[in-house]
């Protein structure tokens, strides 16, 4: 436990709010990469530098950090950027919820997460008081982004943020995942994002994942919502 942990967690929450309030997709992807970077640094900050001297843990920590860094800060943002270029959509146009309201709502979600994480859940010894709230906040904001996004890319980004929230909660509660589990989760995320990137890139105009699904997974009768 180091002061670095709290700083990293605060940064993660800040990035959540930034993503929710930004309309440019490129900025969202970059913020996402930045969040990946912060997450990659999180194990190091939690364990402190002392871990590097403990022989058994080194391999684990280094592997996990490297994998997170490679995937979340480099490979996935790269794939998303490419998909964005191919689909030709640069901005979140006509969002369901206006950006100002989005910011307010996400701030509310962050507040809820903090209230739950501090007032409701028991305080865990040896865990940063920010840990659970930050994880919950990221999870809720990610879910909100997936839900409110009109473009497919925003939904993918929301999914990534949600996944990051799960990662933080896990990191805070368990201290560490078994290596296999950690790598497996990362692989899952990678495959899912690649798949979605391909879908986004193959669409034209404001192609959304929703519409791509719509062809194969059409509801039984005419959609009743304002889709």
């Amino acid at each position: 436990m180091t002061p670095g942990t709290d700083l990293l967690l605060l940064a993660v929450i800040g990035i959540d709010l930034f993503i929710a309030s930004s309309s440019r997709l490129r900025a969202r992807i970059q913020a996402c990469a930045l969040q990946g970077l912060a997450l990659a640094a999180l194990p190091l900050a939690v364990e402190g530098t002392g871990v590097l001297s403990a022989s058994g843990r080194v391999v684990h920590v280094v592997l996990a950090v490297t994998a997170t860094l490679l995937l979340k800060a480099w490979a996935i943002p790269l794939a998303l950027t490419r998909a964005m270029h191919r689909s030709g959509v640069r901005r979140e146009v006509e969002p369901f919820v206006s950006l100002h309201l989005s910011l307010l709502l996400t701030a509310g979600l962050v507040g809820l997460a903090f209230w739950i994480g501090t007032a409701v859940l028991p305080r865990l010894p040896g865990v940063s008081p920010l840990g659970i709230p930050a994880g919950l906040a990221t999870l809720l904001v990610g879910l909100y982004l997936t839900m409110s996004g009109r473009t497919a890319l925003t939904q993918v980004i929301g999914y990534l943020v949600l996944e990051n929230g799960v990662f933080i909660i896990g990191q805070m509660l368990l201290g560490e995942f078994p290596l296999v589990v950690e790598l497996g989760v990362l692989l899952d995320v990678l495959v899912a994002v690649m798949l979605m990137a391909v879908l986004v890139a193959s669409g034209q105009g404001i192609a959304t994942v929703r519409e791509d699904h719509g062809s194969g997974d059409a509801p039984l009768d005419a959609p009743r919502g304002a889709a």
Binding site: L112, V120, P223, R224, G225, A227
Partner: protein
């Protein structure tokens, strides 16, 4: 394993073969039909023999399957109660199958497919398994199979029977939902799903027992057609082929009575209100059923409402039995239960007969509408005579069987009114006028049904050209009529068989000696009745001897040239009886009054709605549909909406975990 169990198993195997054999012989429909009918008859004959033997010798037995389900093996168990119902199933089922053999051949073009007749033996077999079931799983399996087999039979006439079939299936599923809950409670209480295990466990507490009783009345009452759960009967019976109506109304709805009795054996000594509850149901079903029957224009719909009435009579008997049991009053309990059980058999026989008569009329004329029938007694003598016998039996007239069972219930009510504790006497006493009212109204109704259908002049050319068809149908009806007459003439043996069944209920099985003495008088009364009728006929003959006797149409106000249109119609029979009861009924008149000295046109139409259906079930079903439509609006078909639900659920869960309501 005893010999009777082997015989019962053989009957089941024969019936299942009868179900499968026509499928194997599908290339030769004639042979398939014959094989199916013969095997069914053989199975039913073996079944009747086995169940009567079991009743007479007081034998029982169990068979346990080698194959074990997770809830234990499937069990068949035979005791007095199941043996009595088994006898009814095979007797009425066999007569229905015999009738159906001729009926299906006659109506080959009308039925969707003759192959549908193959479901009849399966229906009989599943009913037999229902009464033989020795554990919850076997019972529910057979119960559901029975529902399915009868559903396919109800929908046999194709498109037009779709809605009645659906109503029937929905009602059955509603009922079986209550049964599942009931048996879950019983099995949890009894530490096992075997009926023996449930019975061996100490009787459940008062609240549990009351819940079980109410669930049983709802679940089994749906099958039995208790008011207001009867709404499927007037829909399904007219839609089904007639021999199927005969079997369904004759025995299948009695499976509800059997289930109710079987569950009562698990619940220990009943409190008095159970008896009063059933008395109330019986009174409402009986009077409501017969009043609605009076107003019907369709012969089979009329008969369907009479099933409601007769199940009401059975419920009155059961209610008296429960009252007697609750007070430890053996004679009242024995009379009530024996009367109810005997009425199960009797109603099976005469209602089967009447539905077969309606089927024969339909096969000959192509209609069941009273406005197109008439004068059939001379054209179809066997059908007419049998229908008359059935009508006399259902109205409870001696010397037919309906009299005997209603007589037992009357005796039970008299015994209750004199020997029960003072607080309950009045209720037992109230049974007497209700039963008398039901009998009187039923008589009025069958004067109408028989008179309009079989007497007078034909109201359509189809009725004028009607004739008896085939041999199987008349034979089945004649056998049924003779059985009704036989039980009415010599009731004691059958009454003794019924008391074997009441033994299982924990009632001291013997009937009070006065009742037995009264029953012993029945043959003499019947003989006196028949003798006086014969004497009157002889006197008439003697008086008319040597005089000029002309046969002509029934006297109709002295018109010179009467036409069939000048006869009494069905509503003109019903209206005088129904008018005083209009405050109870939703009657709709559609009248165009005759005007002027030379009226050109006058119309009197009469239609009776069913309050239970129109005021209770229809609004309930509408509200349910509206509710589900509202819920279905949640299904929007796009991912973000579902994600909103996920987020809202997650937040709600977190808040709930946080102690926020």
């Amino acid at each position: 394993m005893t010999a009777v169990m082997w015989a019962n198993l053989a009957a089941l195997v024969l019936l299942l073969t009868a179900f499968l054999a026509p499928l194997a012989l599908w290339r030769r429909p004639g042979a398939a039909r014959l094989a199916g009918a013969l095997l069914t008859l053989a199975g039913c004959a073996v079944g009747v023999a086995a169940s009567v033997t079991a009743l007479v010798l007081g034998q029982g037995g169990t068979i346990t399957s080698l194959w074990r389900t997770p809830l234990g093996p499937l069990t068949l168990a035979l005791d007095g109660l199941s043996a009595f119902f088994l006898m009814c199933v095979h007797l009425v089922g066999g007569l229905g199958a015999l009738f159906g053999f001729g009926y299906v051949a006659r109506l080959r073009g009308h039925l969707g497919s003759p192959a549908v007749a193959a479901w009849v033996p399966l229906l009989i077999a599943t009913m037999a398994v229902v009464v033989l079931a020795g554990d919850v799983l076997t019972f529910l399996l057979a119960w559901e199979l029975m529902t399915l087999a009868s559903f396919f039979l109800v929908t046999a006439e194709g498109q037009a029977s779709g809605r009645p079939g659906l109503v029937y299936l929905l009602a059955s599923q509603l009922g079986v939902a209550a049964l599942f809950v009931l048996f879950l409670i019983l099995a949890a209480h009894g530490d096992g799903t075997g009926f023996d295990a449930i019975r061996a466990a100490s009787a459940p507490g008062a609240a549990t027992a009351a819940a079980c009783f109410v669930l049983a009345v709802i679940g089994f009452g749906t099958k039995a057609g208790f008011w207001p759960l009867h709404v499927w009967l007037p829909e399904a019976h007219p839609a089904a082929p007639s021999h199927v109506s005969a079997i369904m109304s004759g025995v299948m709805i009695k499976m509800g009575i059997y289930g109710l009795l079987r569950v009562l054996t698990f619940l220990g000594t009943p409190p008095a209100w159970w008896g009063l509850f059933l008395l109330g149901i019986g009174a409402v079903s009986g009077v409501g059923g017969v009043l609605h029957a009076l107003a019907q224009h369709d012969l089979k719909r009329l008969l369907a409402y009479h099933s409601v009435e007769n199940l009401g009579i059975i419920a009155l008997g059961l209610g008296l039995g429960l009252l007697g049991m609750s007070q430890g009053n053996g004679p009242v309990a024995a009379l009530g239960f024996a009367g109810a059980l005997l009425h199960v058999l009797n109603h099976g026989l005469f209602k089967g007969l009447l539905f077969q008569g309606a089927g024969a009329v339909f096969a000959a004329t192509g209609t069941r509408d009273f406005d197109e029938l008439g004068g059939l007694a001379r054209r179809m003598p066997v059908t007419g005579t049998s229908f008359l016998a059935g009508s006399a039996a259902i109205t409870g007239l001696p010397p037919f069987n309906g009299f005997v069972s209603e007589f037992l219930i009357f005796l039970g009510a008299f015994a209750g009114a004199t020997t029960l504790p003072p607080s309950l006497r009045l209720w037992a006493l109230a049974v007497l006028p209700i039963l008398a009212l039901i009998g009187g109204l039923a008589a009025a109704c069958f004067v109408k049904a028989f008179g309009i259908t079989f007497l007078g002049e034909p109201r359509s050319t189809r009725a004028a050209q009607a004739r008896e068809s085939g041999r199987a149908m008349p034979v089945a009806m004649a056998v049924g009529a003779l059985a009704c007459l036989g039980i009415g003439l010599w009731p004691l043996p059958i009454v003794h068989l019924a008391t074997r069944a009441t033994d299982v209920l924990g009632v001291s099985g013997t009937l009070p000696p006065q009742a037995l003495a009264a029953l012993a008088l029945v043959p003499w009364i019947a003989a006196a009745l028949i003798g006086s009728i014969l004497a009157l006929a002889l006197i008439r003959r003697a008086l008319l001897a040597g005089r000029d006797v002309r046969r002509t149409a029934t006297w109709g106000c002295g018109y010179e040239a009467p036409t069939p249109r000048m006869q009494y119609t069905a509503p003109s029979f019903a209206d005088p009886v129904l008018t005083p009861a209009h405050f109870l009924l939703d009657a709709h008149h559609d009248d165009v009054a005759a005007q002027g000295p030379f009226p050109v046109r006058a119309v009197h139409r009469h239609h009776l709605g069913d309050r239970a259906a129109d005021r209770f079930w229809r609004p309930l079903v509408r509200a349910t549909i509206r509710l589900f439509e509202r819920i279905a609006r949640l299904e929007r078909g796009d991912v973000p909406s579902y994600l909103v639900y996920v987020l809202l659920t997650l937040v709600a869960l977190l808040l709930w975990q946080g102690g926020i309501p």
